[in-house]
Symmetry: C2
Subunit: 82 residues, 2 copies
């Protein structure tokens, strides 16, 4: 079983494998920071991805639904109203 | 080695363990969606967490630095300028 490279830490009760969150977005960039201007939001609001699986990153495309189902997670987007 | 519950998928070349992104934030909530109003941002901008490790979630507290180091990841925050 090939695990993604990740640190394995031994905490008091269990070993937790911490793996990457972002598998494919802008990987040659050492840190993906996105800057947006609220004034430039088109329409009343914009929905931003926080699961790093969106095909329209930095905007959300609903990819968190599949992620949450597959991994029993509960992540969702950030919605910025103008 | 106790893995976090996660789906194991067999892709052509390697098995990728997909695990949770959010280990501890608002876990009783089935989907953590955050709504913010740009007008209510204090000061010129606000920095929002996208690594789900921040102690001041939904705001960023720099926790992504430790995460990136431990897992060779490259995630960073969303900065919203007023």
């Amino acid at each position: 079983l090939l695990l993604q490279p990740g640190a394995v830490t031994q905490s008091r009760t269990r070993t937790v494998v911490m793996s990457k969150i972002n598998e494919s977005i802008d990987k040659e960039n050492p840190k993906v920071v996105t800057m947006v201007k609220a004034k430039e939001i088109e329409g009343a609001k914009a929905v931003y991805c926080r699961c790093w699986k969106s095909g329209t990153f930095p905007l959300c495309d609903g990819a968190h639904v599949k992620h949450n189902k597959e991994t029993e997670d509960n992540v969702g987007p950030l919605i910025v109203e103008k």
